[in-house]
Symmetry: C2
């Protein structure tokens, strides 16, 4: 007689109303972000416009940043899908370094496009978890390109920071970015230099130039 084990075995399905409310909240949130900008979306406002209680909003998303994180995550999933299934060099099939370069360029474009959400989803109280898909993907490519250096995972961390940091931390928050296209281009070119040089020296050893 182990009712605990039994109940653990099938942990009761997600309630339909909860799922519905969550989806609805995301829809309304998306709408409000488009309309007011992320920084003008409040939890009260969202709850009211969704016709739900404030407690419900917090139950689903924990914190204010949680909402933007959830919204960003949807985009992130689409992006990662493109990366995993698209044609090379972004998708599988090209040499690791080429993929790394292509990934960086694509990621920059993606980030600039969703910069507001990406920033709003940062929670200064909690760090970005190491399960970040971006980190995971870079780690995978590095493991292929220069296994020895990639071993500890630190290099991947640093490269992802180099890739995403400028947009997340260091560049203008208000979208007064003079020319996003130009920005992506410049950052992309620099990323290519960075990625190629870092991996070149650590590659399968004696591939003389």
């Amino acid at each position: 007689m182990e009712p605990v084990a039994l109940s653990l075995a099938r942990p009761r399905e997600v309630r339909a109303d909860a799922a519905r409310n969550r989806a609805h909240l995301l829809d309304v949130a998306r709408e409000m972000v488009a309309e007011l900008g992320a920084c003008n979306v409040t939890m009260d406002g969202l709850a009211e416009r969704a016709g739900l209680g404030k407690g419900t909003v917090f139950r689903h998303f924990r914190t204010r940043a949680g909402i933007f994180h959830a919204l960003f995550d949807e985009e992130e999933k689409r992006f990662q899908h493109r990366v995993m299934t698209g044609p090379p060099p972004l998708g599988p099939g090209a040499p690791a370094v080429e993929r790394l370069v292509a990934y960086g360029r694509a990621r920059l474009e993606f980030l600039v496009q969703h910069a507001a959400l990406a920033r709003a989803s940062l929670d200064t109280a909690q760090p970005i978890p190491s399960e970040s898909p971006s980190l995971f993907h870079v780690q995978m490519l590095l493991a292929e390109a220069c296994p020895v250096d990639a071993r500890s995972g630190i290099l991947a961390l640093q490269l992802v920071a180099a890739l995403e940091g400028p947009i997340l931390l260091y560049l203008q928050a208000p979208d007064d970015t003079p020319d996003p296209t130009r920005l992506v281009h410049t950052l992309g070119a620099s990323w290519q230099v960075l990625a190629e040089r870092v991996t070149a020296a650590g590659a399968a050893p004696p591939a003389r130039r």
Copy 2:
């Protein structure tokens, strides 16, 4: 008759009481951070403990993050002074790449040591300005090590992000860092690889090894 121009020319000195209060607030804030941790310091608490009005605190520091920024800035100044005047390879006198490596290691140690302040001073609403001393210093060293690549300033931005991002964004916020010394060491070693490889290929051209 140009009283405006005249008054602009000498914009009236800082009031003595203001300077005194500011210094006092910083002292009390430092004390409270040490005692309660940055995340438990409130503006009201600070004002009360300092025996000043809340308005005064905000007048001096603008935002909550502003206080921690000011505190961090003091440490930052000390650190930059060490960097500018210390013995090589951290200080002047060594080749640029060696200085870059040494700077990274020193910076990591510094950041880990003041991680709580550094994080608390991040203001998600406003980006880190490009006058960041760290960015400035890396840019200077890069300009010496590989002038062509450094030209745009983007590479410096990316390297600083690679250096500081892991601590600012990606690693555990609560000081459950298993072993800070070990962390600094690992990040430092990885930084060295990064810095040396990136600069090696772009160095003053044909310096054959």
